[in-house]
């Protein structure tokens, strides 16, 4: 099956972008696509712990990230530059992440069959 990379580039909760990206990622994995999630730019804010989106009328789709291995999504990739830009290098994220340099990300984007940006 094809390899699909779902790229999260927008901040959570202010738009439906991240939520719709996650819906697609889970569906993609359920169709046996080798699915990776890549967090870049403000998309890295999805990964912070302690979020309470219900307080602002949003659904807590963030909780789903912890369960992604049960949906056969094993690789959560993060852009190192995006972390550094926000002072988040070394931040204790509650998820198991692979932090990649821009060159490593470029490699990954080349390896997969398709990339969808959210």
């Amino acid at each position: 099956m094809k390899k699909l990379c779902i790229l999260f580039s927008k901040a959570p909760h202010g738009s439906a972008s991240g939520r719709e990206a996650l819906d697609l990622a889970m569906l993609s994995a359920s169709f046996d696509f080798e699915t990776t999630l890549l967090f870049t730019d403000e998309g890295v804010l999805h990964l912070l712990g302690g979020q309470q989106p219900e307080l602002i009328g949003c659904r807590d789709y963030i909780a789903t990230f912890k369960a992604l291995e049960f949906y056969d999504i094993e690789r959560l990739l993060v852009c190192e530059t995006s972390l550094v830009e926000r002072g988040l290098e070394g931040h204790p994220f509650p998820l198991e992440l692979e932090i990649l340099s821009p060159a490593q990300i470029a490699n990954h984007l080349n390896e997969v069959d398709e990339v969808m940006v959210f």
Binding site: A16, S17, L24, F31, F33, D113, E114, M116, V117
Partner: protein, 129 residues
């Protein structure tokens, strides 16, 4: 000949994305290629309104999609969950939800994300707008 799947995320009004998607799809067909389907996701589902009414001297993208679909037999597919959340309902969906109105006509297939994924699996190239 190659096959494309076209994914549209931009709204019908206020976004250039659908106009680009439509022109690209027509150019692909003119070039001898096939469009497997056009899939509307995110705000792209607004393209499927049968009630969109631009002024008579403006380009009518709602109608243009429908004419494109009829002329070239290309299925237009909505992501139903994205559509429901944005108030884009077929008559069937309105009945299921006990709602008195609907705004998505029969030419639009109410599919799921699965149709996007199977389309990506089958097509040579995914084009997002």
């Amino acid at each position: 000949m190659s096959t494309f799947i076209i994914q549209v995320s931009g709204a019908a009004y206020g976004s250039a994305a659908p106009v680009h998607a439509l022109a690209f799809a027509k150019a692909a067909i003119a070039g001898g290629h096939q469009i497997l389907r056009v899939f509307f996701y995110q705000d792209g589902v607004f393209n499927t309104s049968s009630l969109g009414t631009p002024a008579s001297d403006e380009f009518n993208v709602y109608q243009a999609w429908r004419e494109f679909s009829r002329e070239y037999s290309v299925p237009l597919v909505n992501c139903i969950s994205a559509a429901l959340r944005r108030g884009m309902l077929s008559k069937e969906e309105a009945d299921i939800h006990g709602l008195p109105h609907w705004n998505v006509d029969d030419i639009i297939d109410n599919g799921g994300l699965g149709e996007l994924i199977t389309g990506i699996a089958k097509a040579d190239r995914l084009m997002c707008f």
